[in-house]
Symmetry: C2
Subunit: 362 residues, 2 copies
């Protein structure tokens, strides 16, 4: 129990900008002078139109999207997208290329298998326990799409540049690094992200999709499972997750107005990650687990000398107000998730703690 806010290194749901939380709190009983909470407002009202349109506009400005792109809000997390992509885009004779860089890519592949659609694993880093991002991948020229996971939260790896697919559209799960850096959107047919890491609360999934992908959608699918239902109704075929979209709008506003845009956001994120990686590299007590060139700017995974020390590290850190440092239950170890909203102050506090802990336990 603490009266103060901790430094939150959770992998997701994770830290949100304090300024955003304060704005939500301040207007929670009366949103925009409506006399209602944002949770009580009709999605068919002008109040909510302003919210969703502002979120879409900000996303478009930040990513410099041209008119080909639609910004949509779905539900069901990235996990529902794993099924919707093959359902929407893979006709009987089509095949898709998947790159397997860990748990989330593997889950995406599992759904193509369940659906009994054609696919090929174009590359995988499973041989080295997903500790790197594959390079020089040869994609099928006739693949309907290439699927990538831009950042692996569990192993702490990230694409620092996206492969050349020679015109085959990339569909990319960016749940853990969307809006953390500028993107060359020409490569992507679709990017998507569960909101709960860089964007807002869990329960909203942002999908940015290019027009030519919408043209390919299988029109015989159930309404809620085809992308065109969302694109033709500004994500409001049925009641959307209003509170999530509202929070995303505030987070995008924060990126745009407080941080200065995606170039500045990236600079800040690199600076935070450098502080952590530089410290770990200079220290013999800790070691990172990802190949250097594949290190994630979002999830810094590291180990202590023993599992017992890792346990002690996590408990002691929590006592000092540094939360969420436990590695994913599937791999153990430690992990500091430093998404957009993680502060430099928090990263500095973590390094300071790590230094003291190493000295006291060496």
């Amino acid at each position: 129990m603490t009266d103060e806010r901790i430094f939150n290194f959770n992998a997701g749901p994770s830290a949100l900008p304090l300024k955003v939380l304060q704005e939500i709190q301040g207007s929670f009983l009366n949103f925009a002078g409506s006399g209602m909470s944002i949770t009580e407002i009709s999605h068919r009202s002008g109040y909510f139109d302003d919210v969703i349109n502002d979120a879409v506009d900000r996303a478009k400005r930040l990513l410099k999207l041209d008119d080909r792109f639609h910004v949509l809000f779905l539900q069901g997390g990235a996990s529902l997208q794993f099924a919707m992509m093959p359902m929407n885009f893979l006709k009987e004779d089509d095949s898709a290329d998947y790159v397997n860089t860990g748990t989330w890519s593997t889950k995406a592949i599992k759904e193509v298998q369940i659906l009994n659609k054609n696919y090929r694993v174009a590359a995988s880093s499973e041989d080295k326990d997903f500790s790197y991002i594959p390079k020089d991948i040869k994609f099928s020229a006739d693949a309907a799409y290439v699927h990538l996971t831009s950042n692996n939260t569990i192993k702490g790896t990230q694409y620092h540049q996206f492969p050349d697919t020679e015109g085959v559209p990339i569909l990319c799960d960016m749940s853990s690094d969307i809006f953390s850096r500028p993107l060359d959107m020409d490569k992507f047919g679709m990017i998507y992200a569960g909101a709960q890491k860089n964007l807002g609360p869990s329960g909203t999934c942002m999908v940015i999709i290019r027009r030519d992908m919408l043209d390919r959608v299988d029109k015989t699918l159930p309404s809620m499972l085809k992308y065109t239902t969302y694109s033709s109704k500004n994500s409001m075929y049925n009641t959307p997750p209003c509170f999530g979209i509202y929070t995303i709008d505030l987070v995008l506003k924060w990126i745009e107005e407080e941080m200065g845009g995606l170039e500045e956001m990236e600079t800040y994120n690199i600076k935070k990650a450098d502080i952590l990686y530089d410290f770990i590299d200079s220290n013999t007590f800790y070691r990172t687990t990802a190949e250097k060139y594949s290190r994630s700017l979002m999830n810094v995974t590291f180990r202590c000398p023993t599992a017992d020390l890792e346990k002690k590290f996590i408990i002691t850190a929590t006592e000092k107000g540094l939360g969420g440092l436990k590695g994913h239950r599937s791999v153990g170890g430690c992990r500091a998730s430093i998404y957009n909203a993680a502060t430099m102050e928090g990263v500095n506090a973590l390094v300071e703690f790590m230094d003291v802990f190493a000295k006291e336990n060496s």
Copy 2:
């Protein structure tokens, strides 16, 4: 723009108990002494386990559910359920009975059609513009299920008792009246509800499902589209809509501890609806649109003498702090949605306004 909270008669998203909103607001920056917002807490933490388990336990207590029932939290609203039901429960030779009582039933039927599954419309009130709930329906003895919509928000009709299906499980969309009254759950194989009317913010769909229905689930479906994925993982196969579940927990707590349970909730709801219907029945200016025996306790639909007067009614009411009284865009007219969280004070204020408005415009 108002500094005060209005009386909110929105059809959904709609009013939430002020006490619930205040609790969310009060702990929004630091939930349960965690030093984090509820939107920043890991769904794999003890903090969130307590929330989701409390919500499940309260739902079970309120509805007096025995061990056969699972309480699940999904996403995608009732609209995704319209597709998931036939996908999960209708094998090739199966057929389901649907009762068509308006827009939402019609949408449920549309998804069975899209999926090319067998179904039969066992009864419909389309002949009288969905102004009543069909009686004495003859169901197929070998139907896989019977689908009903317990309350029609648009036409203002509601089942006051559920039909005898002679053992065929009823699957029921209760989006607009769940937890508004006690239920004899023996009749139901599954009930489901988008949260945004009686339960919490939009973006969470509560599904209460009986074990024998889970046994019937088509195991070849994508993970996020089969009910067993949710039942086997306490709704946490992937990140659930945490803020929605948290709010639902607080609303159920409010029903249980402040209102005294579902019997008392029903008494309160009847009292509110009676005040409104009695006033309208005693007044020649207004008229209701639903058959008397089918009148909804949740959505009181009514007309003024002319469309122009209805427009004036809605504008004037809004100016007086009575919001959300416009009928659904598909039917026009006026509608007062008085879900659980609507207060007697609000209903009395509405009747008072209606009385003055009628006198001034007769």
